[in-house]
């Protein structure tokens, strides 16, 4: 399973939407999402009805999709449009169940994001949404890489999650790691089978099941199975408020925690994949920021039991 990455577009706490992640890394300390002027990206008639997570996803997606030939739209979102669900419950509780506006209900369907992207792009191709919490992006990526191979086609794939007050219910585990913070973001990519003009290669991707103390063995097996060399860099992230913190260099390879930069959210692997792609594409800028790699393994720890893995290779 292989596909080339052609475009990236990410909304994060850095101003990555304008000019990428690497050039902004040195000044990163904010925990607040930097949102673009949506009205410059999304047509007003659509924008007015969109909730925040839909705006985030659509803005990143249609920016990545600009001038690309797309034959599939694949979206991963761990909490989807959950916030609209909360709003709709609030509305009908308040009105003692009287009939109300369907607005929040319509937008509470998790596939609204992928549906709106297709509507705006007038794209009639394959369209799917995954919501496997901290593995939603990996579910989507596996599908997208496969779809690109099946049809030798360009695929729009991304992950998006917004911060919602409901997450505060998780305070009990958060108390274990006061340094953790819940973030939000959106990252979309164009994948294809064409090497020309590509940024990086996804050499393999998948999902592993492992306890934290045996993850290194599982990573070795993953590399062996796909006949991949030991990477030069591991980008590690928590997509959940995990109980076990991994603070060693996995596989004795320099390990950098991207979730410290973008925050913890279900689909933050998309941020990791954009960062990895930039490190491979801009070696000198990467060196200025302490990265030197031609092969990167992205490791996402969802819940100390389920893990996402993506292997990126630089193009020679």
């Amino acid at each position: 399973m292989k596909a080339y990455i052609h475009k990236c577009s990410t909304l994060s706490v850095l101003d990555s939407f304008n000019g990428g992640i690497l050039s902004k890394l040195k000044n990163s300390s904010s925990h607040v999402l930097i949102e673009p002027a949506y009205k410059e990206i999304i047509t007003g008639s659509y924008l007015r009805r969109m909730s925040k997570v839909i705006k985030m996803g659509v803005a990143a997606a249609i920016t990545a999709a600009k001038d690309q030939n797309i034959q599939g739209i694949v979206v991963g979102s761990g909490a989807g449009c959950c916030h609209n669900t909360v709003l709709f419950i609030g509305e009908y509780n308040e009105r003692q169940e009287e009939i109300l506006s369907p607005h929040s209900f319509i937008q509470s369907t998790d596939n609204t994001i992928a549906g709106q992207i297709a509507l705006i792009l007038q794209n009639f191709s394959y369209n799917i949404t995954y919501i496997q919490k901290g593995l939603a992006f990996e579910n989507a990526l596996v599908d997208a890489v496969l779809l690109s191979e099946e049809n030798n086609a360009g695929i729009l794939i991304g992950g998006v999650d917004e911060w919602i007050p409901l997450f505060e219910l998780g305070e009990t585990t958060k108390a274990l790691h006061p340094e953790y913070w819940i973030g939000e973001g959106a990252g979309f990519f164009i994948l294809s089978q064409a090497k020309q003009n590509a940024l990086a290669l996804i050499s393999a991707c998948g999902i592993l099941q492992s306890k934290p103390d045996s993850i290194e063995n599982e990573l070795h097996s993953f590399l062996d199975e796909h006949q991949l060399e030991i990477p030069d860099l591991i980008l590690y992230g928590n997509s959940f408020v995990n109980e076990v913190s991994i603070d060693i260099d996995l596989l004795n390879v320099k390990t950098v925690h991207y979730s410290d930069i973008c925050g913890i959210y279900f689909t933050n692997t998309a941020f990791g994949m954009n960062l990895g792609t930039e490190i491979l594409t801009h070696p000198s800028l990467a060196k200025e920021n302490g990265f030197n790699a031609k092969r990167i393994l992205i490791v996402n720890n969802f819940n100390d039991a389920d893990w996402g893995v993506i292997y990126l290779s630089a193009l020679s």
């Binding site: 009908y92 169940e97 596939n111 007038q122 009639f124 939603a136 596996v142 099941q209």
Partner: protein, 395 residues
């Protein structure tokens, strides 16, 4: 690589297992009645409810009582256990679970949210438990002892159909050998409110493809199928129930909740599925439609069918007239009904139908047809967001 269906499990308003469902379908016995246990204001609403309490569903699923498990997940577990049967994990058969859901776990969420708002200190819920999403997938996998690839799909009312489609693609790509695929949906106050607010709810029994159709009735269901590669079958020696020979997924890209007048997305998905199965439209012997009973869906879907089948329309029906619209589960429920039609050489009745739609000369099957040979069945599933999925099953 060929994909075979070797296991099926089902619980709906017309039966707690596949056999009971078949019996009701053959006898034209629908399951739509007054929905119990909902707020007074909707007390006359009709739906396809499974008349069992959650505690009874737990018992049926072979556990004493799963107190914190959503009803939708319990329905899913009942069906998953029937489909999975006495299969075991074998180390050289790569097995996965793919589950389709909308927001079926919302009833628990509603409860938690209200407590949260009231600042009730007794509620200490980790945010991983606050809504359904992948909970059903994880729970069902662990209850059956399945370790392997897991995915949760949410494409509204085509979710379970897309689970089947994605499972098949993972087998075809040689990533998995065997996949448990399906979905579940419980009737919840949330969804009733939603469809009521969209004014898509019929206050009588739904009448798919009838000129006087007014809307849908909701239903609840759990459904699972086991699909396997030939390589897996060599080892498991399971009986082949049917073959999945074609599939298509396209987007209507017309409106967030309504289908286009031309049924463009449905046409594209049907064309893809037929092309992949390498057959002509006239080789389809029966269509299990999406047929929700809403004015918009049935008009758009009929237009799409006319585009593909022209004047050679095979027998078609909407089994939602038996079960109600089981949303995320619908595509899986109807895949199983399609396979039952195939295996028993019959087409079930489209209930509550009396007057043809004025736009079309064709009409659904109104009574059970049993003197028919069925080799290929097309099953349609559509959802909010323009999602259109088509599956073709063969003997």
């Amino acid at each position: 690589m060929k994909i075979f269906i070797t296991g099926m499990g089902l619980i709906t308003a017309i039966g707690n297992n596949v056999e009971e469902n078949l019996h009701s379908l053959v006898n034209g016995k629908g399951g739509i009645s007054t929905v119990e246990g909902i707020p007074e204001i909707r007390k006359n609403f009709l739906g396809g409810q499974v008349k069992m309490l959650n505690s009874e569903l737990s018992t049926l699923a072979g556990a004493s009582e799963f107190k914190e498990v959503h009803r939708s997940t319990l329905l899913g577990l009942v069906a998953a256990k029937e489909a999975w049967g006495n299969r075991k994990m074998e180390k050289d058969i790569r097995t996965g679970v793919i589950y389709g859901t909308t927001i079926g776990g919302i009833n628990l969420n509603e409860f938690v949210l209200n407590k949260f708002k009231e600042n009730d200190p007794s509620i200490k819920v980790d945010y991983k438990h606050t809504h359904d999403y992948s909970f059903g997938t994880d729970f069902i996998s662990s209850q059956l002892g399945i370790e392997g690839y897991k995915a949760t799909i949410s494409t509204a009312c085509s979710s379970a159909a897309n689970s089947i489609l994605v499972g098949a693609r993972l087998i075809k790509a040689n990533i998995l050998d065997r996949v448990l695929v399906g979905g579940a949906e419980a009737i919840t106050n949330y969804i009733l409110n939603g469809f009521d607010s969209l004014m898509l709810y019929d206050d009588e029994r739904c009448k798919p493809f009838d000129e006087n159709r007014k809307g849908l009735n909701l239903g609840e269901a759990g459904c699972f199928l086991v699909i396997e590669s030939e390589k897996s079958l060599l080892k498991t020696k399971q009986k082949k129930l049917a073959e999945l020979v074609g599939w298509g997924n396209a987007c209507d890209a017309f409106h967030q909740t309504a289908s286009s007048p031309t049924g463009h997305g449905a046409v594209l998905a049907m064309e893809q599925a037929l092309k992949m199965a390498n057959i002509l439209p006239e080789q389809i012997d029966y269509i299990n439609t999406h047929g929700t009973g809403t004015p918009n869906n049935d008009l758009s879907e009929s237009t799409a069918m006319k585009t593909i089948f022209g004047n050679k329309m095979p027998p078609f029906n909407s089994t939602k007239s038996f079960t109600g619209h089981t949303l995320a589960a619908a595509g899986g429920v109807e895949a199983i009904y399609s396979i039952l039609a195939l295996r028993n050489n019959m087409v079930f009745a489209n209930l509550n139908y009396s007057q043809p739609m004025k736009e079309f000369s064709f009409r659904p099957t109104t009574e059970l047809i049993s003197n028919i040979s069925i080799n290929k069945v097309l099953s349609s599933s559509f959802g909010f967001g323009g999602n259109c999925t088509e599956l073709i099953f063969s003997e």
